[in-house]
Symmetry: C2
Subunit: 222 residues, 2 copies
C-alpha cells in the first residue's frame, strides 16, 4: 500500500502511521489531509494518533524529515567510489539525483514544503539543510574533484549547479502539477529528458570554453 520505506527501527505502529501519513500528505497536501483519514488508513482511532504524535504539525514534520539518509545514500556512494572515472561519476550522480527527487518520498515532498513554509518555518529549514543542501554539497564535491583532476573545465559554478538540479526539481514539481493528467509522461518524458540532460551537462563541462570564446568574437577578428 505504501510505495516507500520508512527508516528507523522504532515501534512498528509508529512506522506504519508515518508511512500512511506520508502517502496521504503527498496526495492531498497538508491542509487537506485530515487526521481522521490518517487514523483510518493506519487502522486505529483518531484519538490514538495523538498518543504517537502530539499534533498534526508534529506528524507532518516527522514525515517530511524522514528518510533523508536512505535517499542520499546512493549519491554519496557514487561520490566515494574510487573505481569511477570523472565522466561516469558525473553521469551516475545525475541519475541518482533523478531517483532521489522523483522516486523517493522526500523528493516528492518539495511542493508540500512550499505549502507549509510560512506556517511551519522549521520544517523548511530542516528540509533544506538535511536534504537539498546535502545534495548540492555532494554534487559540488564531484565537480570540484573533476576540476582538480582536469577532467572538467568550467566557470559559472553556480549556474552549472542550477542547470544540474533545476531540470530535475522542476520535473518533480510538474509531476505533481500534472498528476491528474491521463499520461504525465506525454507532457514530460522523463527517461528521454534524463539522457539528454546528462549529455548536455557533460558537453558543458568538457572544456570548450576557448573555442567558444574564439568563435564568439568574429567582429574584430580578421
Amino acid at each position: 500500500m505504501v510505495p516507500f520505506e520508512i527508516e528507523g527501527d522504532g515501534p512498528s505502529r509508529r512506522r506504519l502511521i508515518l508511512a500512511e501519513a506520508t502517502r496521504i500528505f503527498l496526495e492531498k497536501g497538508f491542509s487537506a489531509t485530515a487526521m481522521s483519514e490518517v487514523a483510518k488508513a493506519s487502522g486505529i482511532q483518531k484519538a490514538s494518533l495523538y498518543h504517537h504524535f502530539p499534533s498534526k504539525e508534529a506528524l507532518f514534520v516527522a514525515c517530511a524529515t524522514n528518510g533523508f539518509a536512505d535517499a542520499l545514500a546512493d549519491l554519496e556512494a557514487i561520490r566515494n567510489d574510487p573505481d569511477l572515472g570523472d565522466d561516469d561519476r558525473l553521469r551516475r550522480a545525475v541519475d541518482a539525483v533523478y531517483r532521489i527527487n522523483l522516486d523517493s518520498a522526500c523528493g516528492q515532498m518539495a511542493p508540500l514544503i512550499a505549502e507549509v513554509s510560512r506556517t511551519i518555518p522549521t520544517v523548511a529549514r530542516a528540509f533544506y539543510e538535511g536534504f537539498i543542501y546535502k545534495q548540492h554539497i555532494v554534487m559540488g564535491g564531484i565537480i570540484d574533484d573533476g576540476l582538480a583532476r582536469g577532467s572538467f573545465v568550467t566557470r559559472e559554478r553556480l549556474g552549472l549547479e542550477q542547470m544540474i538540479f533545476g531540470p530535475i526539481v522542476s520535473l518533480a514539481l510538474e509531476r505533481e502539477m500534472f498528476a491528474a493528467f491521463d499520461d504525465v509522461d506525454a507532457v514530460r518524458p522523463v527517461d528521454q529528458i534524463r539522457e539528454e540532460h546528462a549529455t548536455l551537462l557533460l558537453r558543458l563541462m568538457k572544456g570548450d570554453t576557448e573555442t567558444t570564446r574564439a568563435t564568439r568574437v568574429p567582429k574584430g577578428a580578421p
Copy 2:
C-alpha cells in the same frame, strides 16, 4: 497592497476581490485560505463574496487562470522583434521567462497548482495549456528560427528546453519553500544565476559539438 495587476475591465469590486484573493492564496495555499479572510481583505462581508463567485473553488480557478496574456506579452514581443539578432533574442527571452515565472502572479501559482491538482484537475489543465505550454511554444519557435538561420547548432531539443525552463521553475518553487528564511537570496542569488544560466545556454547552442567530440577521445589519440 496587491503587488500585481488583475487584467480585464470588469466591475472594479470583482477585480479587487480577485487581486486580494490571489495574494492570500499565494501566501497560504488553497486549503489554508479562508473565505472570511478574503472577504475581510476586500472590505466586504463573507456572504457578499458568494454573489461574485459561486464557490471557493470557482474563486481559485478565476485567480489561477487570470493574467496569462499580460504575463506572456513580453516574451511574445521578443520572439517577433525583427531587429534582434538570434543570440540577443535568446538572451532576452531567457530574461523574460525569469520575469514571467518569478515576478508575475501566474508564475508564482505553480506550487499552488500542484496542491490542488488532484482535487481540481481542470485548473491544472488550464494552467498548462494557457501558461506553461505557451511559453514552451514561443521559446521553441525562437530556437527553431535560430537553427534555420544557422545561428544555433543543437540536437537534444527536449533536454535543451528542460535546461532553459527547469532552472527557472525550480527557482520559483524554491522561493516558496524558503519563503520563511531570513534572506532567500543568500540561498539562491537569482541575479547571478540568471546571468550564468544564459551564458551557459548560449554556449550549449553555439555549436561546439565537433570540437567537443574531438577532445573527448584522448585515449586513442597520439
